[in-house]
Structures are given as structure tokens and as C-alpha cells.
Amino acid sequence: MSTPLQPPPKKNPQNRTLSPTRPPEARSRAALGLTAAAAEGRFALQVCAACGSVQYPPRDACSTCLSVNLPWRDIDPHGDLLAETTVRTSTNLYFRERAPWRLGSVKLNAGPVILCHVHGDVAPRSPVRLINRLDRAGQGVLFALPLDRSPNMEDDPQLRALTSDPKHRRVLITEGRSDLAPVLAKALVTAGASTIFVGVSETWRPNPQQQALSEIAQVEILPLDVTDASSTRELAGEIGGKVDILINTARFIRPGSALTRADTAFAQQEMDVNYLGLMRLAQSFGPGMCARTADGVNAATAWVNILSAHALMPAPGFGSFSASQAAALSLSQSLRGEFRGAGLRLMNVFTGPTEDDWHQPLPPPKVLPRGLARSIVAGLHDGLEDVYCGDVAQDLIARMRRDPKVLEREMTMGAADGL
């Protein structure tokens, strides 16, 4: 079993906060396929389209038949640990600071022998299950787990370094007015988060979630309005050094597109909350979080955006909102690049239509708060970058990957008839 992670002691204010260091980032273009799969938590390797042999490490031509047609495929992650060793020092700063570090070779049932990181609970020469996860440089790495769950297995230091586990961490939920806020706060508490800061805008209006939020002992309600730079700056000044995970739940949505609206007022609000709100939060909280990614048990670890899946392709009837989501997605991708230097992970959770007032005229399936909360917590557990929550989001990304132009036309078919 792994040694259970203890709640961190209060920080010694006389000690300098460790500067973030990173494992090696360099990869070939071919090897980035592993990173792309890890971003979604998939275990994938190249499989030769000509001869069917599974490739490892990633390469440009098949090791068996020299075909260059090597698509990435999800494959059986099971195998056997052949050999293992523990690295006790390294010239690389990141591993030097974290030694000892366990490594091994695994013979995959699918064929190749893989060099990978090894969980502390894997017994020598035992069967293992491989997972593909992002490391703190944001690159896909393979990690061997025991076949069965072992006690506190997520507390293994090598595994925790790959994930964004909420256990013993302090989370900021940026908008506490939505149905999601109390449900998400509860899910995070269940996942072991120590404090849930919840931002609430416009405290001069009643908050329908006030009661539900105040019943959760770990919740601290604080004023925060993502449309007001002085508000994001002020809260970051107060708690910016204690936010280990930030979950941006702020959203402004109204139906309508260019011609179904007579003005740009709602569009401005959509951009102000959904796009500029993210930018204000990033400018206020980003630097502090980036500086604290090596700060012990409750180091800053993840930034989470909840985006509509229609950031990828606009929804009929919500053209303007979709544009604001696309803008937020684009910014989040730049931000991810900016965060990566510090090892801070940015996770986008794409959701289909949510069960709320603005999607009330839409038919099911719709995403409920508990489904969204579950996806967020699961994504943090797995240290993901991209999560697709619900049938609509998963269907949309699958069709997007098949043919974006076909999807575009399908999404807008019937729109001219006023549907």
C-alpha cells in the first residue's frame, strides 16, 4: 500500500517557496501522439495500418514493414512487469528533487516492451495495467499500475505528480450563483479537498445557492465578479497564494445569433464574462498559481474551464454564445502554453447543453450539475487536459474529428427554416 498522504502542515513563512522545475519536454512530432492521447487519459500507441504491428516507442515508419501509415489506436493496456529499478539521483533537476523514482520495463500483451514509470505498489514480475498520463512538462508518459486497486494508491508520489488530485488541496469555484456550485463543492469535499472558496458576484442580489453553499463546512463564500478587474485582483490579493485548483464556472448565456438579435448588448456580456472573464482571472490568479506548482502536498496544480462543446462548433440558436465559447477556448489554449512552463495544468471540460433555464426549450439529453461535477473531479484525478462531459459533447467531438465541414453543415441544417 502507499503511505497515506497527510494534510500538509501550515507553511513555514521563513522558507522560500520552491521554484517549479520540469521533467524533459522535448519530443518528436510522432511522439506527441502519446501526449494527445494522454490529454484525454487514453492509452494509445501507433498501430501499423499495413501489417498491424503495435509500435513503441513512437516512430515515423513501421519497425516491421517500414510503412509510414501509423495511426494512433487505443489498445489493450495490460502486460507484465519484466524488470524494475529505482533511480536515486539524476542530473535532471525535476527528478533529482523527487528521487527515489521507480522505473521499469513492461511487456505489453499487444506486443512491444515499454519503458515506463512504475507505481510503488506494483510487485516485481507481476501483471500490470499501463496508463498514459501527462507529466508536469505536459507530455504523455506511461505509468504502470497494479491490476487491482491498492490502499491509498492515488497517494503514490509518482502518480500524484502526474495528476491534479483535489485531496488536501484548496479550490476556488469562481461563480457561486449556478446550480453547479454547491454540487461541485460537495464533490470536491468528497474527493478530499480541504477548502472550497466560492466566489459570488453582485452580493447586492439574492443568491439562490446561498443556503446550499453555506451548509458545506469547507466552503468559504467570497465576493468575486469576473467582469470586474478590480474584483479579481482584490480576491487574488487575498487568497491567490492559497488557490491550488481554480475552477471557472462563470458563464453568461442567451439564445440568439447575429440576425436573431438587434444589437450587440448580450454578445458583449457573453464576451465579457466568458472570454474576458477568463482573461481577468488568468491575469489575477495565474502568476501566483504558476509560482506555487512545487509547493509541497498542496502545490497549485490545475486550472479548470467549463466550456460549451459548442466552442468547437456553434450550436444552432446559440451562435453568439458559441462565439464567446470559441474565444474562451482559443484563449485557454494559449494560456495552457503559458502555464506549461510552470507545470500548471489547464483542463477544459466541454459540456453539451446543461439542464438550466436557457436550455429549457431544448430536448434531452442535457447535462446535470452532478454529471458535470463528476467529470470535473474525474478529470482532476486523471490529470487530464480535455474532458467531454455527456453524450452531446462526446458525439460532437467524434463528429468533429471525422469531418469538421460535414459537422458544420449538419449543425446548421434547418436553421434557415427557423428551427
Binding site: 447586492w204 442580489r205 465576493p223 467582469t227 474584483s231 442567451r254 448588448a265 456580456q269 433555464d357
Partner: protein, 259 residues
């Protein structure tokens, strides 16, 4: 020039006291809330452009944004559908003389303290007139409720059936406009109408009747408890916004100190 010199002298000596009737433009100051499918009143926002730094080494400045009807603000006749065809109905067209003039204050603070939905009625006005004399023609009439002392959620006082705050009933507005020919009507609440003003006939009677008659509104006023019932002078000049239906502004009152 003697009169202006006398005025300057009186202001300098304190014989005439200036009262600021304005709230700070603050991002946290409440604005009117409409049903969410309607367009909303923009909150006051301020974005830093530079602060003696690489964005502008020797100067600090901000871009600000808000609605015409954010914070302490002026309502022009063109704000309401009843006033859309009124001559000189936009803030940039209103004659200058309208911006400086006499003001009377009807103290409703006791009633408003007892009842969030306190109504200013004709009877209330007439009882005030019995004490202070008829409301002079072309005067501003301000309804003092001490609502400006409320903070946070108590200001809008939003409930499941909408906001609850004091205001005039339709007959009171007709009396002020048709029988007293006032210049305008001002309140300490977020609008010239009561929080539940949508349930009168006509809905929002202060807006409907005032602006239909080419009169003006002032709302979110402050410090009305520092004004005398009669005898003060109000200075309320909205920004000269082309076609503007209203404007945030600094509202001042001049009060003669009685020796």
C-alpha cells in the same frame, strides 16, 4: 455681476452650503434588474489603461463603461415610450435652464422605515403643502426615504415577486405634473418608481407620466436628509450624450444656512 460675486462670497463663507447628492460610481453599486430575457443595465466598470508603468510611464488612466442609467443618474424624457416624441427629449437637447433650479424635499423617511412598499400619495403631498406651502411651478421634487443609507441586498430589496422599495402612486405623479407642473422628480431608490411600480396602471407611473409630459427624473440620490424642505437650489447637469436617454452625473444642492 454683483449677484454672482455675492454668491461666490456666500459659498466661500459657508453662508451657502453645498451638499453632494451623489453616490460613488462603484462596480458594486446596485443597478436595476430586469427579467433576464430583457437587455440589462450595464454595471459601472473601470479598466486600467496605464498606471505610470510600461503602458504609459508618466500617467494613470482608466477606460470606464456603464449604462446611461447606472449609479446616481438623470432620466431624460426620451427614456420612456411616453416621452419618445417629446421635443428636446434627449440629454443633449434639454435646455440648459433645466439643469439649475429650485428643489423641494418631501420627507417620507418615517413611512419608508415602516413599510418597504411605502407609497407617496396625493394626500401625503397635500399634507406637506399644508405645512410648507404649494409646490412651486418648475421645481424639482425629491422624495426623501433614507433609502440611500441601505447597503447590499437591502437596497434593491429583491424578493421572489420583485424588488420592494418606496415610490409614488399614479395619482401622486399626475398631481405633481398636471397640477404643480414640476420640473422633475427624484428619489433615493434605483428608479423614480416604486420597486413594485410595474403593478400600477399605468405601469411605472413616475416614468410614464413624468417623461410623457417632458419632465425629468433623478434616481439613486444621496444625502437628501441634509436638505431643507424648501429653499434649496439643485444643480443636475447630465453629460451631453448625443441622443442620450439619461446620464450618470454629479448632483449638487446649494442650501442657504439660516443664521
Amino acid at each position: 455681476m454683483t449677484q454672482l460675486a455675492d454668491l461666490a462670497q456666500a459659498l466661500a463663507s459657508g453662508a451657502i452650503r453645498m451638499v453632494d447628492l451623489t453616490h460613488r460610481l462603484d462596480p458594486d453599486f446596485p443597478v436595476i434588474i430586469l427579467p433576464p430575457e430583457f437587455g440589462q443595465c450595464a454595471r459601472f466598470r473601470m479598466e486600467e489603461v496605464s498606471a505610470y508603468d510600461h503602458r504609459g510611464p508618466a500617467w494613470k488612466w482608466h477606460n470606464i463603461s456603464m449604462s446611461e442609467h447606472t449609479g446616481t443618474h438623470f432620466d431624460a424624457p426620451s427614456h420612456w415610450i411616453s416621452g419618445r416624441d417629446v421635443a428636446h427629449g434627449a440629454v443633449d437637447e434639454i435646455p440648459l435652464q433645466a439643469f439649475v433650479g429650485p428643489v423641494v424635499v418631501i420627507d417620507c423617511s418615517e413611512g419608508a422605515a415602516a413599510d418597504d412598499d411605502f407609497e407617496l400619495t396625493v394626500a401625503e403631498i397635500q399634507s406637506w403643502e399644508a405645512e410648507h406651502g404649494p409646490i412651486p411651478e418648475d421645481a424639482w421634487v425629491l422624495m426623501r426615504t433614507d433609502w440611500s443609507k441601505r447597503r447590499g441586498a437591502a437596497y434593491l430589496n429583491m424578493q421572489d415577486d420583485g424588488p420592494h422599495s418606496p415610490g409614488p402612486d399614479p395619482e401622486a405623479m399626475r398631481y405633481l405634473v398636471e397640477h404643480r407642473n414640476i420640473r422633475g422628480f427624484g428619489t433615493e431608490t434605483v428608479g423614480t418608481d416604486a420597486g413594485q411600480g410595474m403593478h400600477y396602471v399605468p405601469p411605472y407611473p413616475a416614468h410614464f407620466i413624468l417623461h410623457g409630459a417632458g419632465k425629468y427624473g433623478l434616481q439613486c440620490l444621496n444625502n437628501l436628509d441634509q436638505l431643507p424642505a424648501t429653499g434649496a437650489m439643485l444643480i443636475a447637469a447630465p453629460l451631453k450624450i448625443k441622443g442620450g436617454t439619461g446620464s450618470p452625473l454629479r448632483v449638487l444642492a446649494l442650501v442657504e444656512e439660516t443664521a
